[in-house]
């Protein structure tokens, strides 16, 4: 099994690292299919979703939600970084169950409205303390995995913005009825037609 594959399996045990994880991992859940028109598990993410590019959030779609799904949450985390791991890049929750996914470029400015169909969705704090998506920037020459986890909830929680990962997991404890993930990779990119990354 590759290093990426090992990490992927570990990620399916999901959220099992760090505070607040045990409740989620302990629940019996349905597996959600997570897809993206821009990336896939085990392959490099486009630079547009990193600080080598525009650093916008990538598009995600999901299907096979369990019956009774009322709301969704998404966490993007790097299980190979952070002290303790994971390093959280993105948290978004209060996502209506009717949403088929997340379009590219969820606003990083809270003053900007969420895209149509995502009314009520809000973002939690990543490990930089910012309630927005910030993409991967692993140390030069290293390849990291980025675990985009989708969680289906059996209730509408209407959580406030700015929750940390631990706070979110505590808030949704006992309500996770489905989960799935996608784990693309990333390494710092050279400028297009320019000098290699240093």
């Amino acid at each position: 099994m590759t290093k990426t594959g090992i990490r992927r399996v570990a990620a399916l045990g999901l959220l099992a690292l760090g505070a607040g994880a045990t409740a989620v991992a302990a629940q019996a859940t349905v597996e959600i299919v997570v897809e993206s028109p821009a990336m896939t598990t085990g392959a490099a993410m486009p630079r547009e979703y990193s600080p080598d590019g525009r650093n916008v959030s990538p598009p995600l779609t999901w299907r096979s939600l369990p019956p009774g799904t009322r709301q969704l949450a998404v966490i993007c985390q790097d299980h190979g970084a952070g002290n303790p791991p994971p390093w959280v890049h993105w948290i978004i929750y209060n996502i209506p169950a009717s949403a088929p996914g997340l379009p590219e470029g969820i606003p990083f400015d809270r003053a900007d409205p969420m895209p149509a169909g995502l009314e009520g969705a809000t973002q939690g704090n990543n490990n930089w303390g910012l309630a927005m998506y910030r993409g991967p920037a692993p140390p030069a020459g290293t390849v990291h995995d980025y675990d985009f986890t989708v969680l289906a909830l059996d209730t509408e929680l209407n959580l406030p913005p700015g929750l940390t990962r631990a706070e979110l997991l505590a808030a949704i404890e006992g309500h996770v009825i489905g989960q799935g993930n996608m784990v693309p990779t990333y390494t710092r990119q050279p400028a297009e037609g320019g000098a290699a990354f240093e």
Partner: protein, 239 residues
């Protein structure tokens, strides 16, 4: 990512709260700007206004190209918006230039290198010079600089990009909210923005009551107008 530690992320809201007054802001675009007054929402208060932005003219320590980039950055750190004047209105750019000739003279190279790196990073990551990006894209670039994610990204920041961000941020705050004696806070717009009532050597009971009712007229005096204080060099507070 990123093995860089969380930066000392400070929003305009944090900034204005930290300034100890009744004014403040939203963290929007998240880390950077957009003032929103707080305090008693039932008490409408006039926002400070400026008839004209203080002219800058040639600076002593930066080229015209460097000035354009730094000016654009400062304008996003504390933007001029419907909540009132911003850092450029307060003369923060002139303050920084003066500080680079005085107490912050050893930061000139850091400024030049950082400004060049900021622009290289904007071109590398967004394909456009920093000063020509939209305000939203400038904010996104600055967030990457603030978080350290721009470090090494073909830009050549000396050390962590967050160090440059914090250097400029600190000086921008000083140039906006410091004593006007040092060349910033022109016409006391920074103090008016945070509703700082001004330097006073004594406060009567009546003035204290008016202050608590947010009804006290600002003193609009530099501390050095009183004669008891002796001014140091510009930017000395950054150390």
């Amino acid at each position: 990512m990123s093995d860089t530690p969380p930066p000392n992320t400070i929003s305009r809201r944090d900034l204005l709260k930290a300034a100890g007054a009744a004014g403040a802001a939203a963290l929007a675009p998240a880390a950077l700007g957009a003032a929103v007054p707080t305090g008693n929402p039932a008490v409408p208060r006039a926002l400070p206004t400026l008839a004209t932005r203080a002219p800058v003219g040639p600076l002593m320590n930066l080229t015209a190209a460097e000035t354009e980039i730094l000016s654009a950055m400062i304008d996003r750190l504390i933007p001029t918006d419907d909540m009132g004047p911003g850092a450029l209105d307060a003369g923060a750019l002139r303050f920084i230039d003066r500080a680079l000739s005085e107490a912050e003279a050893d930061s000139v190279d850091a400024y030049r290198a950082g400004i060049a790196a900021l622009d290289r990073y904007a071109r590398y990551s967004r394909g456009t010079p920093f000063a020509e990006l939209s305000a939203r894209d400038q904010d996104s670039v600055l967030i990457d600089v603030q978080t350290g994610s721009a470090t090494g990204a073909g830009a050549g920041f000396v050390g962590n990009s967050a160090a440059f961000f914090n250097l400029v941020k600190d000086h921008t705050w000083q140039g906006t909210f410091g004593d006007p004696q040092y060349g910033g806070n022109v016409d006391f717009v920074g103090w008016d923005l945070i509703r700082y009532p001004g330097v006073r050597l004594r406060v009567t009971d009546e003035e204290q009551r008016m202050l608590e009712a947010e009804d006290l007229e600002p003193a609009r005096r530099s501390a050095y107008d009183f004669g008891q204080f002796q001014a140091g060099q510009s930017g000395g507070g950054a150390r």
